[in-house]
């Protein structure tokens, strides 16, 4: 059994994780599912692995011995825009996941997920379906409310620009936050069930801050920086 991309070649995954047992665990699950996995324990190893070509998928931990995974994600987005990126998180907390989303990641993977779930998540990601958890959706919609209420004190957690989200996308996020399934959300909002994952990927893309100047511009737009 081998997972293949559109070209027929096996799908390549670069796995960046410094904790050896976790790395083995994830690698085992992905290799069993038929993916071609290269692993790296540090940012340096990851960069040298990239020299031989771009992987289809990048799975990276955030806290690495020689730097932060966010740097790697940003580099990947600039050099290989077609690569799908997911962050590996122990708890799936918004602090780490949202900071990864703002530099271009489109999902996250829990370190203790069951092997079948790991493979399913990566497959969905390659198919264009970005996973999102209720707590991440909740964080994003609470932030849209915070902006709407124009509260004086800056909200806690990483900076996030929700200004470009459409009301429909916010409705979808509300549904996810309240525990509804994609099918339930689709029927509530009068959508096709298949379009919901695409909406979620759009949401991730809208939350991404592309360049430093854009980040400054959006910070000004949101009133986080006063000129």
């Amino acid at each position: 059994m081998s997972e293949q991309g559109e070209t027929g070649d096996p799908i390549t995954i670069l796995l960046v994780e410094d904790d050896a047992p976790t790395c083995w665990r994830l690698q085992d699950a992905l290799v069993k599912a038929g993916y071609e996995v290269r692993s790296a324990g540090t940012l340096g190893e990851a960069r040298s692995a990239l020299a031989s070509g771009a992987p289809r998928v990048l799975l990276t931990d955030l806290r690495l011995p020689d730097g932060h995974g966010v740097e790697l994600i940003r580099e990947m987005r600039q050099r290989f825009p077609d690569t799908e990126i997911m962050v590996i998180s122990a708890l799936g907390d918004e602090e780490s996941v949202i900071s990864a989303i703002t530099v271009g990641a489109t999902g996250y993977l829990l370190k203790d997920a069951f092997p079948t779930d790991i493979a399913t998540t990566v497959r969905d990601l390659v198919a264009g379906h970005s996973p999102i958890s209720a707590s991440i959706a909740r964080f994003i919609v609470r932030r849209t409310q915070g902006v709407a209420q124009n509260s004086a004190e800056p909200p806690r957690g990483p900076a996030l620009n929700t200004a470009r989200l459409t009301p429909r996308e916010i409705d979808i996020l509300w549904g996810i936050a309240k525990g509804f399934s994609y099918a339930e959300i689709a029927s509530h909002l009068g959508l096709s069930r298949q379009t919901v994952p695409g909406h979620i990927k759009n949401i991730y893309r809208k939350l991404e801050v592309h360049t430093r100047s854009e980040a400054v511009f959006e910070a000004v737009q949101q009133g986080l920086i006063k000129l």
Binding site: A90, A113, S133, A134, R138, R142, K178, G179, F180
Partner: protein
């Protein structure tokens, strides 16, 4: 005024010290007043207008009471009332036509009460036609040009008929006859001093009376303005009212005019007393009695009586009032030592000197050509006082402004202090809340994560492999996620917490091939609870976790159904969450193994105690067809832990 009075030193030094202080303050003041007296007398000398003495006619013969005798002007008549037989003064002057380049005039600087002047038997001047000229209290001069046709070359005869109707004796000052150009300047000077100036003063008084009356109307509790306004109004009426000339009927008006001086002076005393912050004594009203008596008698009685009464009562009252006023100001000077009391004291002294001078003139003790100055000085004083009061009123307004400014500053300062203390208080409250949360978090971590990690350690030490340790570690991770998740602000919407729980429960059930049926029966799910705190969320989610864990571990269920709904109670809507499985039920499961039963019993006890702690009611039913846990949420979650301690 009252605020100034309040500032007056209240402490009275005792005994000799007080006497020394009194002397130290009074003596300089009295010396100053002596100086003022001298200056006033000198001033009055300078005020004396110069008359063209070259053209003076002093030698007259007077026919009075049927007797003819020579007199030298100025001359006082013996009678106070000569309307029936007015004294006739006859004099002579020489006219040289070659000297006369322009017309000649006759100039009478001072007379009382009225004159009729004839030259060579032809009347050229009758002052009775000008009512103002006939008032004895005014020093009105008169001038009349003599028609050239009347003048004869050489000797000419001039006769002056003097009409007297009291209250003073008749008086005729030196008569001047000569070229108009030589006499006119002296006449103009006297007119300016004794006619125009009083009119100007009276106009000022009228204006100030209006201003003071308005002030009094707006500030009724300061009658001092009103008193002064009344005094000024009386003065103005006295100055402008036209007294009829006898023998025309003696109008009631003349009574008012006569009464005005004593009433005015009494009012001024009232003003002084009030101004310097004393209470007006009740017996002080007696001071008004003479004036009122003159007024009443004037209204009822015939002409001579009010005038006599005025002389006997009115004039001394004026003097008494001036003297009282001088005493009041002196006392005020001793007590207050401020600019206002000094100024008013000096002004009163000046008026008093003028009054004494006038009295001496009336009593013919000094020859002063019968020029009365007290009325003039009194008017000047009143105008000065009125101006001072207005100035002080404006200053008081400024003080109010600056007081308002200070008040604004104070309020701002207080506001800032309040804000600071509020911020401190808020900070403290936040710190307390944080400490509380930390305590709860510690307990939650201890309850879940701590126990599970200890269990992992124990299992590892006993050499257990695989599944058991994995389950314990997964449970620990799940609990950690729950604690982190519950710390998030969900804005009182429990549905948001249940959304995350659904994900975790699904992940937990998937390896065991158990399906999670999720049903939200009411559109909004659960009611909003603004009082919902993280520790409530943890307790509720743990109850649900326990129910799901039981279904997995002991009941061998294939489906777990979670139903969320809002029900309408008698006191409003409340939330209801139920977890039902299709397993064997723990009653039968409990009989299978003793260890399992103990664990289940502990699990149930935990669920119940957690429900109690957050005010929820737990209903549990279990039989062979499955187990159903119903959690009825409270309408309001309790602030404090109901099972704490």
């Amino acid at each position: 005024m009252s605020e100034i009075a309040a500032k007056a030193p209240a402490k009275a030094p005792a005994g000799p010290a007080r006497r020394r202080l009194l002397a130290a303050r009074l003596v300089p003041y009295l010396l100053l007043q002596a100086l003022i007296v001298i200056v006033t007398l000198l001033g009055l000398r300078l005020l004396q207008p110069n008359d063209p003495e070259d053209f003076a006619l002093s030698d007259f013969s007077v026919r009075e009471n049927g007797l003819t005798r020579p007199v030298a002007l100025p001359h006082f008549t013996t009678s106070r009332d000569s309307l029936a037989d007015p004294p006739l003064y006859t004099g002579a002057f020489t006219f040289r036509r070659e000297d006369a380049t322009a017309g000649w005039s006759v100039f009478l600087p001072r007379f009382s009460n009225a004159v009729e002047v004839a030259v060579n038997g032809v009347v050229v001047l009758d002052s009775r036609r000008d009512a103002n000229a006939n008032r004895p209290d005014r020093n009105t001069p008169q001038i009349a040009s003599i028609p050239a046709s009347l003048l004869r070359e050489g000797g000419n005869e001039i006769t002056v008929r003097l009409f007297v109707w009291g209250p003073l004796k008749g008086f005729l000052d030196t008569v001047y006859v000569g070229p108009d150009a030589a006499l006119r300047p002296a006449y103009e000077t006297r007119t300016l001093l004794f006619v125009t100036l009083p009119v100007v003063f009276s106009a000022w008084q009228a204006i100030l009376a209006v201003i003071l009356a308005i002030m009094w109307l707006m500030r009724r509790r300061e009658p001092v303005y009103g008193v002064l306004a009344v005094a000024m109004v009386l003065g103005v009426v006295q100055a402008f009212a036209q007294a009829p000339v006898p023998p025309a009927n003696a109008s009631r008006l003349s009574a008012v005019l006569l009464a005005s001086a004593p009433i005015e002076s009494a009012l001024v005393v009232v003003f002084g007393v009030l101004f310097f912050g004393w209470r007006w004594p009740r017996y002080g009203t007696l001071l008004f009695m003479p004036g009122i008596l003159v007024f009443v008698v004037g209204l009822i009685g015939g002409p001579p009586l009010p005038r006599i009464l005025f002389l006997v009562l009115g004039i001394p009252t004026v003097g008494l009032c001036l003297f009282l006023m001088a005493c009041v100001t002196a006392a005020a000077v001793v007590r207050r030592q401020d600019a206002a009391s000094f100024t008013i004291g000096c002004a009163v002294t000046i008026v008093l000197v003028c009054w004494i001078q006038d009295m001496l003139t009336v009593l013919e003790i000094t020859s002063n050509d019968r020029i009365f100055v007290s009325r003039l000085s009194y008017s000047a004083m009143l105008v000065a006082i009125g101006a001072g009061l207005t100035w002080r009123f404006a200053r008081a307004l400024n003080q109010v402004d600056s007081f308002a400014g200070q008040l604004v500053t104070r309020v701002r300062e207080a506001e800032e202090r309040l804000k600071a203390s509020f911020a401190r208080e808020e900070e403290r409250a936040r710190a307390a809340a944080l400490a509380n949360e930390r305590t709860r978090l510690m307990r939650d971590l201890h309850d879940g994560l701590g126990g599970q990690l200890v269990s992992i350690v124990a299992l590892s030490e006993r050499g257990h492999e695989g599944a058991t340790i994995t389950d314990a570690a997964r449970a620990a991770l799940k609990d950690l996620r729950l604690v982190i998740d519950s710390m998030d602000d969900i804005g009182g919407d429990l549905m948001l917490a249940l959304g995350s729980w659904r994900e975790r429960a699904t992940a937990q059930l998937r390896p065991h091939d158990i399906a999670l049926d999720w049903r939200v029966a009411t559109p909004q799910g659960l009611p909003l609870h603004s009082e919902l705190r993280p520790w409530h969320v943890i307790q509720i989610v743990r109850i649900l976790d326990e129910a799901v864990t039981n279904a997995v571990k002991h009941a061998q269920a294939r489906h777990v159904a979670v139903t969320i709904e809002t029900r309408d109670g008698s006191d409003g809507p409340y939330g209801m969450i139920s977890v039902a499985d299709d397993g064997r039920g723990f009653a039968s499961a409990g009989n299978s193994t003793a260890a399992g039963a103990g664990q289940t019993a502990r699990g149930l006890r935990n669920m119940r105690s957690r429900a109690t702690r957050c005010g929820a009611a737990l209903d549990l039913s279990s039989d062979a067809s499955g187990t159903r846990v119903q959690l009825q949420l409270p309408q309001r979650f309790p602030d404090s832990d109901m099972a704490a301690g």
